[in-house]
Symmetry: C2
Subunit: 331 residues, 2 copies
C-alpha cells in the first residue's frame, strides 16, 4: 500500500475546500501506477486558513503562495498528488499586472520546480481556464485551436499550461491541465473575476438581493457546475497518462448557455419575482473581457477521457438550490 499525500493550492477557496471535502469522503486517489490508494494527508495551502474541516488527514500551510519557502513547507519528495488551483482572478490580474505574473506564473513555476527537485513525478493537476482563448474565435472552439489570450490572466494560464506539458515530457511531473469553464453557480459573495456575474445573477436574486448583468443578454457562456468541476479535476487526476499522451491539456466539458437562457431557467424554477431583481447595466470593462472568451467548445478530449458533463442549466440551478438554499449552508 502506498498512501497518497495530496497538496491543494488555493485550498481555502471555494473549489479547493469542496475538492478537499470530496476527497475526504472518497478516501482514495490513483497512485503513480494508477491504482487507487488511501489518502493519508491533504495539505491545504492558501493565504488564509481554510474553515470547516475537522479531519486528522487535513493539514494547512498558510501564507503567500509566491513565497518559495512557504511552498517548500507544503511540497516535498513524499507528495504524490498536487491540485494547483490558487490564482489571482482575471479582473485582479488585469488591474495589477505584476501581482498576476508573480502569483499565476512565478508561483506555479516554483511549485513545478519543487516537484522537479523532489524527483518523484507527482500527478500534477493544474486548473487552467477557457480564458486562454481569445481573438477571433469560431462559433465552436475545437481542441486544436491556437490560444490567443486577450487578458493577462489568460496569458498567465497559457504559460503555465506550456510549462506543465514540458515538465511532464521531461518526467518532472505527471501533469494534467483542465481548462475550466466558468463555474456556475458559485456560492458565497462576488469576487474580482470578470465572470463573477455569471453566478451573481442567479445567487443574489435567489437570496432576495439585487444583481446586475454587465454583459449583453445574448452573450454565450461555457458553464460547469461546481460538483462536476470537482468531479472533472479528480477524473483527470486519475486518468491513465497514456490516454493523455504528449499533450496534457484538456478543454473542460461544459454547457453553452446564453445569459438570457440562464435567466429564463431561473424564472421557470424560482419565479418572476426573483428575476425581477436583475438589472441590466452594461459594464464595458467586464463585457470586453467576457466577450473574448469562447461561448462553446467541442471538448472532444474531455469526452474521450470520460469527464462528466452537466445535463442542463435547469439541472445546475436545481442542484444549487438543493445544496445551498434549502439546507443550511456548510462553512
Amino acid at each position: 500500500m502506498n498512501p497518497t499525500k495530496v497538496v491543494i493550492t488555493g485550498g481555502a477557496g471555494f473549489l479547493g475546500r469542496r475538492l478537499a471535502r470530496t476527497l475526504l469522503e472518497r478516501g482514495t486517489l490513483a497512485d503513480a501506477a494508477g491504482r487507487q490508494q488511501p489518502i493519508e494527508r491533504i495539505t491545504l495551502v492558501d493565504v488564509v486558513a481554510p474553515s470547516g474541516f475537522d479531519d486528522p488527514r487535513i493539514d494547512t500551510v498558510v501564507g503567500d503562495i509566491a513565497d518559495a519557502a512557504l511552498l517548500a513547507r507544503a511540497v516535498d519528495a513524499s507528495t504524490t498528488s498536487i491540485f494547483h488551483l490558487a490564482a489571482i482572478v482575471s479582473g485582479m490580474a488585469e488591474a495589477d499586472f505584476e501581482l498576476g505574473m508573480r502569483v499565476n506564473v512565478d508561483a506555479s513555476r516554483t511549485l513545478l520546480d519543487l516537484c522537479r527537485a523532489g524527483g518523484r513525478m507527482p500527478r500534477f493537476v493544474f486548473a487552467s481556464s477557457v480564458a486562454v482563448y481569445g481573438g477571433e474565435l469560431p462559433a465552436v472552439v475545437g481542441d486544436n485551436l491556437a490560444v490567443v489570450p486577450q487578458t493577462s490572466y489568460g496569458t498567465e494560464k497559457a504559460i503555465v499550461e506550456l510549462l506543465v506539458n514540458d515538465y511532464s515530457r521531461r518526467g518532472f511531473v505527471d501533469g494534467r491541465v483542465l481548462r475550466l469553464p466558468t463555474i456556475c453557480v458559485r456560492p458565497g459573495r462576488p469576487n474580482a473575476a470578470a465572470s463573477s456575474f455569471a453566478s451573481g445573477i442567479v445567487r443574489e436574486p435567489l437570496n432576495g438581493e439585487a444583481a446586475n448583468c454587465p454583459v449583453e443578454a445574448a452573450t454565450r457562456l461555457w458553464l460547469l457546475s461546481p460538483a462536476n468541476a470537482i468531479a472533472c479535476l479528480i477524473a483527470l487526476h486519475d486518468a491513465d497518462a497514456a490516454a493523455l499522451g504528449a499533450n496534457r491539456i484538456v478543454n473542460g466539458p461544459g454547457l453553452s448557455v446564453s445569459v438570457s437562457e440562464m435567466i429564463a431557467a431561473l424564472e421557470r424554477i424560482a419565479g418572476t419575482d426573483v428575476v425581477a431583481r436583475i438589472t441590466y447595466d452594461r459594464d464595458p470593462r467586464i463585457a470586453r473581457l467576457v466577450d473574448t472568451w469562447p461561448g462553446e467548445l467541442a471538448a472532444t478530449r474531455a469526452d474521450a477521457l470520460g469527464l462528466p458533463r452537466d445535463d442542463s442549466f435547469d439541472a445546475i440551478l436545481r442542484s444549487y438550490i438543493a445544496e445551498e438554499i434549502e439546507p443550511s449552508p456548510r462553512s
Copy 2:
C-alpha cells in the same frame, strides 16, 4: 526627425551581425508612427564582442543576457526598436534545462520589463521558431493550429510569444513575433541546434569536408535563406500594427524541402563528388527533435503582410555559393 535607436540581442551571432550589416546599409527603420527614420545607433548585445564592424553607429554591450543589469545598459527609454534574437539553441536547451529557461524565458521577460519601465512602447521583434509546433501535426500547418512543443526550446519560445502578445496588448511594447523556419544555408561551423545538420550537409561538402545526415532522407524541413530571414525580420518590424491586430505572431514563410531534395539540388549544382562526402548515420536524439517540427506551413499571415519568400532550394544554394564560397568570406 526622430532617429531610431536599435538594440539587437544575439548581435554577435550569425543572424544578428547580418541584420546589423543590412540595417547599416539600409540606413532607416520605421518609427512608432510607421515613418522611415534614419538609424542613429545600433547596440549589439551578446556574450562575445561582435567582429567585423567599423561604423560609428555601432555600439556593443558584452556580457550575460540573463543579467538584468547588463540588459539595462543596452535598453532604456530612448530605445525605439529591439530585435530579440539571443537564445540558447534547441539541442543545448534540451541538455541544460535551467540554462534554457534562464536565457530563453527569464532574459526575454527582463527585456520586455525594461521596455515596460521605459514607457515608450518600442517596436519589439522577437525571433521565435517553428519548433513551437509539435505532437501530431497535419501535413500542412495552418496559422491557427495550437502549439504543443516537444522540446524545452519550443516551450520557451512559445512562452515568450505569449508574453509579447500580452505586453503588446497592454501597450508596453509594439511586439511582432516571427516564427523562423530552419535557416539554410548558415555559414560557419556547426552549432548545438538540432537543425544544425540542415546547413552542415550542404556547407561541409562544399568546403571539401565530410558531413553526416542524422535524419531520414524523406524528412521534410521548412527552410528560409539567411537573406530572406533578415528581410522578413525587417519587413515585420516595419509592418503596420493595425495589419497585425491582437495576434502579433506570424509563421515565417519558407520552402518545404525534403533532405533528399536538398541533396539532389546540391548534386545538380556542385556535382557528384560533393554529395559523396555526405554520410547517413541516423542520430536518434536529433531525429527525435527534428521529427516533431512541421515540414510545411501555410504561412498565410506572412504572405498577407508581404514577407519575402525564397523561390527554390536551388536558388538558396546558388546564393550561398555566390556569397560565401566564391568571394572571400566577410568577418
